[in-house]
């Protein structure tokens, strides 16, 4: 899976979780860019990403990831 493909799929996950088809994420997107992205929705988002890509975040990653780029790094490190 390429980084571009992960980004495209990530877009779909974000749109689904936040119920907003207008959302388009980039590597630098952070919680400050999406109003509803709070701690609770962050967990919902992480679980949705885990299910979509068949990967697993550890709790340290859940608590410290700063932007979508870091999420993509973790996804890419686990998908073949």
């Amino acid at each position: 899976m390429t980084r571009e493909e992960v980004n495209k799929t990530m877009d779909e996950v974000f749109q689904d979780v936040f119920d907003d088809e207008g959302i388009h994420v980039t590597e630098s997107t952070t919680a400050k860019d999406i109003a509803d992205w709070d701690s609770m929705m962050h967990v919902t988002l992480c679980v949705a990403i885990e299910r979509k890509f068949g990967i697993k975040f550890n709790m340290d990653q859940v608590n410290t990831m700063k932007n979508v780029g870091e999420m993509m790094d973790i996804v890419l490190s686990q998908v073949s």
Binding site: A31, D38, S39, M40, M41, V43, C46, V47, N63, T64
Partner: protein, 296 residues
Amino acid sequence: MDIVNQLVRYIGERHPMQEKYLEKGLAALSAEDREDLEKVIEFFAVKHTIEEMGEAYLVFVKDTINETKYFVENDYSRYRYATLSEVNGNVYQNEAYMSQYMLGLQLSGYLWDNHRQILHWFREEFLGYEGKNYLEIGPGHGQYFAEAMNRGKYENYYAIDLSKTSLDMTKEYVQRFAKGSHFELVHENFYDYDPKCLFDAVCVSEVLEHVEDPYVMIKKIVEITGEGAHIYINVPVNAPAIDHIYLYRTVDEVKDLVQKAGLKIIKEIAVTGNGWPMEKAIKHKSAINYAVIAVK
């Protein structure tokens, strides 16, 4: 930089999601709330550094996020633990952990909008009644107990808790922040409690999610209160935490439980955990704080 900003900065630098949330929380604080928060932090600063306070808050937050992940992974159907024995040793009887947990929880009381709104409602709506004996079950860090002693119109104030750490914290907090009044702290399981008086008011705030059978606890409250007594009950719905063992899925579940025990609800408030409109919080099974004042 003042002590509040120092603490929030410490937390934000270590937890990106909290940075956003706390910035919003601080901006919403009234001047009075900000002053109260400063006093509480200064009180803790006698024993703890800013770093220790920040770490205590982060332990509280990270454990809550960990339990939330479990809750979401299991399609919002259950909390990780369901019995007191599963959490008692690791939380209530673990002094080091409990001290951190209570400190973090107390800071959230000012920094989280939902906790702050509920505290204001408790002050304004519950502490206007009068009577002789007031009881709080599970005072936690002591903030609500001190509020009652400062603003309530009762002669005697009692608090009972299973955790010695919690009672020690309550004692210190009350001695620092509460005015005069007689108070007694009881270290006992509430189910074994045999008080020498009937109570005119009972506060049970964020406790009924920590018990295996909340109906049994409410019935016991009914037994130890006089006719016309006022009872304040505050329960989080869909709110995982390291020691939450009873899951309330809806506000109506709580309401039914209170009414089934023979109490009449006269006032209520529901606040969403993240400031969302209620319908949206229900749809996403997001946390809701629900509080009632009921009369026997």
